[in-house]
Amino acid sequence: MTAKISKSIPPLLWVGAFIASIFLIMPFIGLSQRTPWSTFFQTVTEEAVFQSITLSLVVATSATAICFLLGLPLGWVLARSHVKGLKVIRAIVLLPMVLPPVAGGTALLFALGRKGFIGEKLDSWFGLTLPFTTAGAIIAATFVSLPFFVLAIETAASQLDPHFEESSLSLGAGPTRTFFTASLPMIKPAIFAGIALSWARALGEFGATITFAGDNPERTRTLPLQLFVALETNPERAMVLGMLMVIISLSVLVALRGKWIAAQ
C-alpha cells in the first residue's frame, strides 16, 4: 500500500519535501539541544515565569473564545453571502495574517489606544483604557488570530454540500435551527482546526502585544514577552521558555488535530 503511494509521487517532490521538513525541524533540534533540561522544571516554576504561563493561557484562551464568537458568524457570512463589497472585507480580514504584527499593534493603537478614534471615546465615556491591560493583550492576540479562525470556517462553510441544509429546511427546520442542528455539527472538524490554529497563534503572539498592550510584568507580560526579556538578560531561561512554548503549542496542535481527523 505504502509502496504504491510512494510510486505515484515524483522523486523530485520527495527531495523538496525532505528539505522542507529538515528546514522546519532544524531550529527545534537546535533549541532542544541547548535547553538546560536539568533546570527546566525549576525555571518553569519560578514565580515570574509561572505568572507568564498563567497569563498566556488566560490571554490565548480568551482570545480564542472571542475568535469563536465573532469569527464563526464572519466566516459563515463570507462563505455564503453574495452582498457586494464582501470581497473587500475578505481581503481586510486576512490582513492581520500577512501584516507584521508590530504594524497590527500600531494600527490597534490608532483605533483603540487612548488617543485612538474609538479608544478616545471608550476613555471619555466609560473610563476604559486598553493599552497596558490584560484586556489589551487579549485584543492584540484576538486581532492576529481571528483570521485563522475565519478562514477555517469560511473554507468549511463554502465546501459544505448545500443539499444537507436544504434537506434540513425541507424537513421543517427553520434557518436558525438548520444552522445549529445541521450546518454547525457538520463543520465541527473545521471549528476544531480553527480553535487549534487561533489558540496556537494567540499563544505565540508577541509583536502586536508589545506594541499595543506594552510590557507590564503583571498584566501583559505573556510567555513570548517573557522570552524576549529573558533573551537579553538570562539566555538559559529564554531557552527553557522557548522549549516550553514548543511543547505547549505542539501538544495543542496534535491533540486538536487528532480530534479533527477522528471527527472526519
Binding site: G16, F110, G113, G214, N216, T220, V229, L231, E232, T233
Partner: protein, 248 residues
C-alpha cells in the same frame, strides 16, 4: 508531459533562487567594509559618522543598529563584527566575558542622561518625577541601558516609578509618548524631538551613562581608524549635534 516539464522548471528555478539568495545574503558584507554594531540611541549620529568616515577613508561602514542587550546577545553568539558601540559599560563587560574586546581600543566616546518627557499637551500637567505617581507612564525595560539608568535615577530621587509598561527600547518609549498612550516617560536627552515636551530633571545630569566603543578581537585593522574618527573633533561634533555629552 508539459506539466511535468514546467514543474521541473519551477523546482529548478526555486532551487536556484534559494541558493542565490542565500549566497547573496551571506556575502552581503563586502570585503572592503567595516562592520559596526551600534546601540539604537546612536542611530542618526552613527549614520552621519559612517558617511563622513567613508568620505575620508573610502572605507564603507556596514551598520547594525539594535538595543545594546540584543547586540550583546548577537555578539556572544558569534556574529561577524569589527567595532561595537554600546549605551552602557556593563553590557560591554558582558561581551568581554565571551568574546575578547581589544582592551587598548576600549574608549568612552559619549555620555547621555535622562529627561522626563510628556505629550505636547501634557494632559496630566506633569512637571517633575513626583508627578508621575498615579499617572500612566512608560520607561525602558531594566535589561536595556536606559532602563538601568531610569532605575538608578529613581533610587537617587527616592521615587517609586511604577510604570505601566517596560518598553524594549528608548524609541518605543518615545513613540508611546508621541501617541499620547502614556502621560509621561523617561527618555534620553538625545531622543527628544519637536513632537514631545521634555522637562529637565534637576539632578539627572549627575547620573549619566557612558557610551563605550571597542574593537572586537580578530576584527579588521581599520577598526582603530574608525574608533579614532569617532573620538576626533569631527566625530565629536556630530555627536554633539545630536546632544550627546562629551566623555569626561
Amino acid at each position: 508531459m508539459t506539466t511535468s516539464k514546467n514543474f521541473r522548471g519551477i523546482l529548478r528555478l526555486n532551487a536556484f533562487l534559494a541558493v542565490f539568495s542565500f549566497l547573496s545574503l551571506s556575502c552581503g558584507l563586502s570585503q572592503n567594509s567595516l562592520h559596526v554594531m551600534a546601540a539604537s540611541s546612536l542611530t542618526e549620529a552613527f549614520e552621519e559618522i559612517a558617511e563622513e568616515f567613508k568620505k575620508e577613508t573610502q572605507v564603507e561602514i556596514s551598520l547594525t543598529i539594535a538595543g545594546s542587550a540584543s547586540l550583546a546577545s548577537q555578539i556572544e553568539d558569534g556574529a561577524k563584527v569589527d567595532v561595537v558601540a554600546l549605551a552602557d559599560e556593563e553590557t560591554m563587560k558582558r561581551i568581554n566575558e565571551t568574546r575578547r574586546v581589544e582592551q587598548g581600543s576600549l574608549k568612552i566616546f559619549a555620555t547621555n542622561y535622562l529627561v522626563l518627557a510628556t505629550p505636547l499637551e501634557n494632559p496630566e500637567s506633569i512637571e517633575s518625577l513626583q508627578d508621575l505617581k498615579g499617572s500612566i507612564s512608560a520607561i525602558c525595560a531594566p535589561q536595556v541601558p536606559c532602563g538601568k539608568l531610569s532605575l538608578k535615577l529613581a533610587i537617587q530621587e527616592n521615587i517609586d516609578l511604577n510604570p505601566s509598561s517596560l518598553e524594549p527600547n528608548v524609541r518605543s518609549v518615545r513613540t508611546k509618548i508621541e501617541l499620547g498612550e502614556v502621560d509621561a516617560g523617561l527618555i534620553y536627552i538625545t531622543d527628544i524631538n519637536e513632537k514631545i515636551n521634555h522637562i529637565i530633571i534637576d539632578r539627572s545630569e549627575q547620573i549619566t551613562t557612558n557610551y563605550p566603543i571597542a574593537s572586537i578581537h580578530g576584527g579588521k585593522i581599520e577598526s582603530t581608524d574608525f574608533i579614532e574618527f569617532v573620538l576626533s573633533p569631527a566625530g565629536q561634533k556630530i555627536l554633539e549635534k545630536y546632544r550627546f555629552g562629551a566623555p569626561s
